[in-house]
């Protein structure tokens, strides 16, 4: 594979992970932007451990994920009690705080960051390994007790609470796991670019991830898989002088999609339709028909 394609695929994996990191709390109705700064935490931890302490990458990765989860967990204790706008804006303020702290920490290189990281040959398989593992876990979550609890909270947090769902515990768990995923994305990103600066983890990154979440479709996990290559790929195909318009296009696209197509490209209906087509294998055609008759009879009010 040519280096350009490898780089593209690696960055797409990073953005898929980041979009999933925002998608997970959104299942519980929280727009938590924390993964953007835990991505910085993870990236800086791994870069510092590998560069200055000479650790092997797996050890650095483990510490990075733990630290990222920790830095997500502490504010998550507070965000478990806030909802909606307060969580969204509070986590944006945290992005700003972390960026400003990183600028001022001299042992992490200040505004210049950490440069000249070693080249790793196994990054691409590692990145997609994480995408597959986290993707499988997310799709398992959809049908699990926890996933249903999250959807109940998103629909009506007070009602979910009366039905026995521990709203604050589910929130803390979702936000912490999302932060850990952000940390993994940060480690991969840092070693793909082979340098890290505080300015990376700001509004531009947030805008990209939001665009992928909202354009792809924020009600299913498949939106990220479609939107990340699309939105990361399209600007690369633009002619050179148009690249300065990328963020303007993304901002407008975000507004247009939210107003005109609130469900994004991949809506939940689409996923259901595709999965019903896929699951209708020839041999269990009778079974499907039997199920259809059963539903019909239920709808007609017969006792079944």
């Amino acid at each position: 594979m040519s280096p350009a394609i490898t780089l593209f695929l690696e960055l797409v994996a990073v953005y898929i992970l980041m979009t999933w990191a925002l998608y997970l709390p959104f299942k519980a109705g929280q727009l938590f932007n924390g993964p953007v700064y835990t991505m910085a935490v993870g990236g800086y931890t791994a870069a510092y451990c590998v560069q200055s302490l000479g650790w092997p990458l797996p050890a650095a990765l483990a510490l990075a994920v733990v630290l990222a989860a920790f830095f997500g967990f502490i504010p998550a204790l507070g965000f478990a009690r806030t909802r909606g706008i307060a969580t969204a804006m509070g986590s944006i303020a945290l992005i700003f705080i972390v960026q400003s702290v990183l600028m001022n920490l001299d042992f992490l290189g200040g505004p210049a960051g950490i440069k000249r990281l070693p080249r790793l040959s196994y990054l691409l398989p590692m990145a997609y390994g994480f995408v597959v593992v986290i993707g499988v876990l997310l799709s398992r979550l959809e049908r699990s007790r926890m996933g249903r609890a999250m959807e109940a909270i998103a629909a009506d947090a007070d009602f979910a609470g009366t039905m026995g769902v521990s709203v604050s515990w589910v929130n803390v768990a979702a936000l912490t796991v999302a932060s850990a995923i952000g940390g993994i994305a940060g480690v991969i990103y840092t070693f793909v670019i082979r340098s890290i600066q505080p300015t990376t983890f700001g509004f531009t990154l947030l805008l990209y991830v939001w665009a992928m979440l909202f354009v792809g479709g924020r009600y299913t996990m498949w939106g990220a898989v479609v939107a990340a290559p699309l939105l990361w790929g399209l600007p690369q195909l633009l002619p050179g002088q148009a690249t300065s318009y990328t963020r303007i296009i993304l901002g407008c696209l975000l507004a247009i999609v939210i107003v005109a197509a609130p469900n994004g490209i991949i809506s939940r209906d689409l996923v259901n339709r595709v999965s019903s087509v896929l699951s209708r294998a020839p041999h269990d055609g009778d079974q499907t028909r039997a199920r259809a008759t059963l539903t019909q009879r239920e709808e007609e009010g017969e006792d079944v």
């Binding site: 727009l31 507070g78 804006m89 509070g90 303020a93 705080i97 805008l207 939001w210 963020r247 507004a255």
Partner: protein, 291 residues
């Protein structure tokens, strides 16, 4: 002591600007239940338009002021249909995302296409008119004093409007209960447009104060102003106008004093850190939410 007083006045004038922006966002939060994150970017964009008008006409301050006022009003009202959709869908999170997206677009325009992205410096006809005061280290420009007075007057005027006029009562009814407001015959769409016009007027005043009291304007300033105003609104309690006003002044003063007496590069992180703790400790705001 002189340094302290000068910093206090500078802080209060910055606080007056924060208060204006926060009041505009609070008004939209009350009437439409949306957080218009792009509001501060509109203010700064208006200062850019005013600067361009003054560049084109050899620094005529009157023209600059009129351009700022008109462009702020226009930019705010133009975005109303977008936020009306969010308000009618009852989608406050999506409104935040749309606001940040539009703020990003305005940032890009400011930082790439005007003055090669360098910070603007406004001509002295706008920034140092009137009797300045200077006594040793104590230097206060007249526009700074004007910013404090105008900031206070605008917020007092807004409160008077909300509590004394018929339209203001309609706004408060919408903040209380949208369904009931509709039943008793308040035209929701028209009232929503009015609230954006009112917010636009406040954005215009804020733009004039930014250009004259701070005498500079840049895209990073827009980021800071937007975030501070939003956090002030949230910490004071969404829709709480008096709380937002007091907190905005306090943040302005605190920032100005930390810049004078502490190693400056930590001041941003410190102010935001304190505000974050406040949000997490009191999710409904220090003074209580009214929205």
């Amino acid at each position: 002591m002189e340094v302290f007083l000068a910093q206090l006045v500078a802080g209060l004038s910055i606080g007056g600007i924060y208060a204006l922006v926060a009041a505009g966002m609070n008004l939209l939060l009350l009437v439409r239940n949306i957080m218009n994150y792009s509001f501060a970017y509109v203010v700064l964009m208006a200062t850019y338009f005013g600067w361009m008008a003054m560049e084109a006409t050899d620094g005529d301050p009157a023209l600059g002021v009129i351009t700022m006022f008109a462009s702020a009003l226009l930019l705010t009202v133009v975005t109303e249909p977008l936020f009306r959709v969010m308000a009618s869908r009852n989608a406050p999170l999506e409104a935040v995302v749309v606001g940040v997206g539009m703020g990003m677009v305005l940032t890009e325009v400011m930082s790439q296409f005007i003055h090669q992205g360098r910070p603007l410096v406004f001509p002295s006809a706008l920034t140092s008119w009137g009797p300045g005061m200077s006594h040793g280290l104590f230097v206060v420009s007249f526009p700074q004093v004007v910013a404090i007075v105008v900031g206070v007057l605008t917020v007092v005027g807004l409160l008077t409007f909300l509590y004394r006029s018929k339209q203001g009562r309609a706004f408060r009814a919408m903040a209380q209960d949208l369904g009931t407001a509709r039943i008793i015959g308040i035209p929701l769409t028209r009232a929503g447009v009015y609230s954006f016009i009112l917010a636009g007027l406040m954005a215009g005043i804020a733009a004039i104060l930014v250009s004259s009291a701070l005498s500079t304007s840049s895209a990073p300033l827009a980021d800071l102003l937007a975030l501070k105003a939003t956090v002030v609104v949230l910490v004071a309690g969404g829709g709480n106008l008096v709380g937002g006003f007091l907190l905005a002044l306090a943040v302005g003063v605190a920032e100005s004093l930390t810049q004078a007496y502490m190693p400056g590069r930590w001041s941003v992180a410190l102010v935001f850190g304190i505000l974050m703790v406040a949000i997490i400790a009191r999710p409904n705001g220090v003074f209580g939410s009214r929205s």
